[in-house]
Symmetry: C2
Subunit: 495 residues, 2 copies
């Protein structure tokens, strides 16, 4: 990242305002590549000092740059270079949803999304993984040392459901920040968000039942529903605002739905976020239809905007909404510390946890509790959100540069995932295969819905800080997509 | 434990052999309570030195004591005081099994088996918990320190299925010791044995399917089957030799069974162990009926006899038998490190693990791998087996002392659980309630089977070293059972 350059001070000149010259100066840094899309622009204070202008002049200059689409302000963080190319990208279109419950097969290629072993040097854009560099490794090490000293034997003992009390208190405190008052005893600690969702599903539905989900949605949610013998009913979504409450209402009118499993905040893969009004409406419908709604909030703390988005649970008292989340995308995927607010299913959820996996590992719970108590989480989150936002913007810019016309890309409001719609005729599975040969792993859209809805989509993860290897990988993907766009699709051959 | 006493050397006397006097000396230590049932008797070498007799004399003296039922030899460990009272206890009888698949309800009292919180001072005999004092806390702390130093960031990263390779290698090595050759890639690391069983069940059966189980069996197995929408078919067992292969064959002939879930080694609650011939027969039947058999081997390393009992898997190549186990009863319950050998269901098991809980916590896997690599496990196991054996014998002795006539108790061959059949008319649930009032938690037999089969049984855990509080607890239980045996049972009132 570059925050300063060696040019001389810009003098005030005839016919133009001083702030225009300040703006010219910053624009030149962007145009000559000294500042790249996603980079942080010198702060108002820094530019003021550097160019010896007043605060008002600097502020006016940055307003001009913002209006021109050169930079953007990010709350509590400063100004960043926008990518004009990325800004011109269109959002992906809706896929076709089948309109009836489906039994889904676990696609066999799921296994090959992850690297086979340590010798596998492929660039992995296929998994929603935070880069280890972004995680608070040192703070966790300190917490681990404290815990090991304070409770030498504790970590060997079972932490039976609902889990370690100090951790549940910290989670209840965090949830309060998202607009819900819950008691620590309402919190069940689970082995990550995945187990929380598994338990929630089994609390509210039985094999054979129909579960309403967003389309597209995280493939593990679809796999989980299928493996529990349930059926998924996929509902259409908006790429920015997620599930449409009207579509939800129609689905409830026309189908016998037993529960819903939604990702209202920064849906994986879309990055969409449901507005409060839509959330309120979904909860009203849940109440009217006596429908349990499970929300997966694993990305909720990773908002790019000012405000932490609300939980569905904020509009409910726990009699309809169950909330699942974890620290896997924010602190430590390997800790497997998630949680479930099961509301009125609390007792059932605790006993189900006991039956299915007995307890969550004790040591990671103790370390997480210590880490949260020490207040390091909020500071860490601010840095992390800013990093993810920059990485997402940088990746969008690279896609805009390297992918052919006709490519559409999501504009996520949080999280670190991009949803890419490929140009006409280009099949995701062909890109996936050619990319694998070229040493790049991507997640083909087919995984995120039933039938052929997302045959032409990819999900790319922006979990890692920008680096030359990523530029190379995106350029390679761009060439692959470009080449495939030149050729007739499978179906056309010999037709 | 007392291993020496201050009496004078016993002289050789007329009409009796010298070894008789040596035997008298030891017997007097037992009779006056210096040595208590379950205590270790001075070694041959020690008694030889102390009484200045030859090795042959000492050996002959101990043989006499063994023949007289005063002491027993334990392989690689020495001689221990037997309880003549406990030796006279009869084994529990078989409960009635319904003979048809049942859907079981999770009993609501399951939650109250565990202490409510830290302020709960009840003596907990209700849970199969190893006492923390018996666990290798220091060795694990050292392993933790090494791991934290060697891989500061590793513990924050996902350890995707099948799990950390160094740990899988160690597990494969351990399994080889139980008679099976498996490749590390055949091992799936899970969150404890419970998750391994959950995954195994879902690999081989679907909701609605019938699963054959032993009766009695661990209540969590019954709960798990019920929560997965399957039905349990309970098969009769022998209190010493476990599942009868003939009963198994009849069940397969007369029912449409989809899979079996068995605990062949030290069944919970019986402590029974299937002989190799019976195991071989069960595997032959599994092959003939193309029936997947899941074995839960969580107690397999805790044998009181010389030899580690075989796995079912030792008689199969992985095409019919799946093996689940963990380190929860031997090293660290709180680590939640278990494993599954899924045989030909390997790929399905890995993807199911991914769908249901994504990964097992990384840090406990790394620490366990380090602990195993350092060779501390075998040494620890020897000590632990000897401690559990002594604790079980001590508890049997206390039951023989304090419980009224008509009480029957299991004679486990490994593990640390006792299965107690109460005298006529005494209902386990009444004992459970009265004991709770008296500050003692027990597990009522009702949890271990359907219907009324085990209404008159209790399971007691001997996970903790003997101490006065346990003596007091067993005495209190004895009084409760005694009092209840004086009164007509519920059903008789007013009849």
């Amino acid at each position: 990242m570059h925050t300063a350059a060696d040019s001389t001070i810009v003098p005030a000149a005839s016919g133009r305002f001083l702030h225009d010259h300040v703006a010219d100066f910053v624009r030149s840094l962007i145009e000559d590549g000294t500042l790249k899309p996603g980079d942080r622009v010198p702060s108002l204070r820094a530019i003021r000092r550097r160019l010896e202008v007043s605060m008002a002049t600097a502020t006016r200059a940055y307003e001009t740059l913002e209006e021109g689409g050169w930079i953007e302000a990010r709350p509590q963080s400063g100004f960043y270079v926008r990518s004009p190319r990325a800004a011109a990208l269109e959002a992906p279109q809706r896929g076709h949803t089948p309109g009836r419950p489906e039994r889904l097969d676990v696609p066999s290629l799921l296994g090959s999304l992850a690297p086979a072993d340590e010798s596998d040097n492929a660039v992995t854009l296929s998994l929603a993984l935070p880069d280890p560099e972004l995680l608070p490794t040192r703070a966790l090490q300190r917490a681990l040392t404290r815990v090991a000293r304070a409770h030498p034997g504790a970590s060997t003992e079972y932490a039976f459901p609902p889990g370690i009390e100090t951790l549940r208190r910290q989670i209840a405190y965090r949830v309060a920040g998202a607009g819900c008052r819950v008691h620590p005893d309402d919190v069940l600690v689970t082995s990550g968000c995945a187990e929380a969702l598994t338990i929630a599903l089994q609390c509210v539905a039985r094999p054979g039942d129909v579960i309403a989900v967003e389309s597209p949605t995280f493939f593990n949610i679809l796999t989980m529903i299928e493996r529990l013998g349930m059926r998924a009913l996929e509902l259409p979504t908006d790429p920015l605002e997620g599930l449409d409450p009207q579509a939800f209402e129609r689905a409830l009118e026309h189908n016998s739905v037993s529960a819903a499993l939604l990702v209202p905040n920064f849906n994986n893969p879309l990055g969409s976020c449901m507005p409060d009004a839509a959330k309120r409406r979904v909860v009203e419908l849940a109440q009217r239809y006596a429908l349990p709604v499970i929300e997966d909030d694993i990305y909720g703390d990773l908002h790019f905007g000012d405000r932490r988005p609300s939980l569905l649970r904020a509009f409910d008292d726990g009699s309809h909404v169950l909330t699942a989340s974890s620290f896997s995308k924010t602190v430590a995927p390997g800790y497997r510390v998630g949680w479930l607010l099961a509301g009125r299913w609390r007792e059932g959820a605790n006993s189900l946890k006991h039956a299915l996996s007995m307890a969550t590992a004790t040591l990671p719970q103790l370390v997480m509790a210590d880490f949260l108590e020490n207040g390091a989480y909020e500071r860490h989150l601010r840095r992390l959100r800013s990093a993810y936002h920059a990485q997402v913007e940088r990746m969008r810019h690279a896609i805009a540069q390297h992918f052919p016309a006709g490519t559409r890309v999501s504009e996520p409001r949080g999280g670190f995932l991009l949803w890419v719609q490929l140009p006409d005729r280009v099949q995701a599975i062909d890109v996936y295969r050619a990319a694998l040969d070229a040493g790049v792993r991507v997640a083909p859209g087919n995984l995120f819905g039933s039938g052929a809805a997302y045959d032409q989509y990819l999900r790319l993860s922006c979990g890692a800080p920008w680096q030359p290897a990523l530029e190379t990988a995106i350029a390679a993907l761009g060439r692959i997509v470009h080449d495939l766009a030149q050729w007739p699709a499978h179906g056309d051959i010999g037709a």
